[in-house]
Symmetry: C3
Subunit: 150 residues, 3 copies
């Protein structure tokens, strides 16, 4: 098909875009289902999770797992199902072999027996690396739209 | 590009992921536009639509079409546009040649002249098969987040 | 993988689908971040932006940029972050070498210090063309779900 053949991006670029979508599908399901060890395993061993809602970033898999476990236990106790949607992905390979993956993030919240609600709108800027063939997050920066950026 | 070449998944896996995204784009547009015969045609002849909100699954294309027609007629009478968003897709090929496709589902509802609202947050687990080259849903299990799983 | 090899669509079709997703990721980020010149540059020089909420379409890049600038300045003054999510993409190549790309559009709005909200649910029908290898919008038709179609 002539239309596609003229594309400026390469097939490899496009397949990377796709692979990152799939990565996020799995990663967010880990978080929202309380599989906190699997969730932490999607970051590098020294991965960082920073957010303008947090005074300090979570540094390293152990800290990322601990924070997720605390949140998961609280949500379970409250009977609330939270879901993280990432979308509007933009992918830019960096000069150092890493990849900058940027998404919009919408977080929904549904209490058992109650109405689904939008909880937060954010952006999520990830620096992704590949280790042993697998994508991992080395650095994540989340900005909540309702809070100042810094 | 070295980064992509190191991917663990094959190009075929990635293209299947993409094809399923496109399948859902078409399928949900059928449902939300009231094209209920086309909607039913995206299931196998003996396809099953189960949901934790329904006492009994819909079994077979005729039942799936009838239920969609009833819902479409009611929404048209009320002047409500409902939209089904599927996202955060995860694809896992099964041992028997079928494919397990899991998504988050967000259902929005907009009355003519009124505000758009989130109606429901769900998950959707599909068993997909291929017949004559086309993807079809053999079994769909929807879980509303506000209801007990079983 | 046999499952994928039997696909009716070609790899080129699938890659175009992917390229359009990426195009929208970049395009909507331009709009939502107030990069209005870049936003206008994603339309052809004579591009048209029509909507059932507008009495007249915006015709040409200059008009599209001017309208976006006005909206961006107002949102900045109000301290509101708006986000445009496109999803449920359906792609149909036309007989004349153009491509019809249809999406659902969800627009969220978050005031500084306030709750995120769904602002609008719409559909977006684009006629895309390729110029110098880049995708551009030649014609966009947006329909808000809360307004009559015509």
């Amino acid at each position: 098909m002539a239309f596609a053949e003229q594309s400026t991006g390469t097939s490899e670029d496009h397949l990377l875009y796709l692979e990152i979508q799939h990565f996020y599908g799995r990663q967010m399901r880990f978080l929202d289902s309380g599989a906190v060890e699997d969730w932490a395993g999607t970051f590098t061993e020294d991965g960082v999770f920073a957010a303008n809602a947090h005074p300090e970033p979570q540094r390293g898999r152990a800290a990322i797992e601990a924070a997720a476990r605390k949140a998961a236990e609280q949500l379970a106790a409250e009977g609330v199902q939270r879901r993280h949607w990432l979308g509007m992905l933009q992918v830019d390979p960096g000069p150092d072999g890493t990849v900058l993956a940027r998404t919009y993030a919408l977080i929904t919240s549904t209490p058992l027996g109650g109405p689904a609600e939008i909880r937060l709108s954010c952006t999520c800027d990830d620096v992704l690396v590949r280790e042993d063939g697998r994508l991992l997050v080395r650095h994540r920066q989340v900005y909540r739209d309702d809070l100042p950026k810094s």
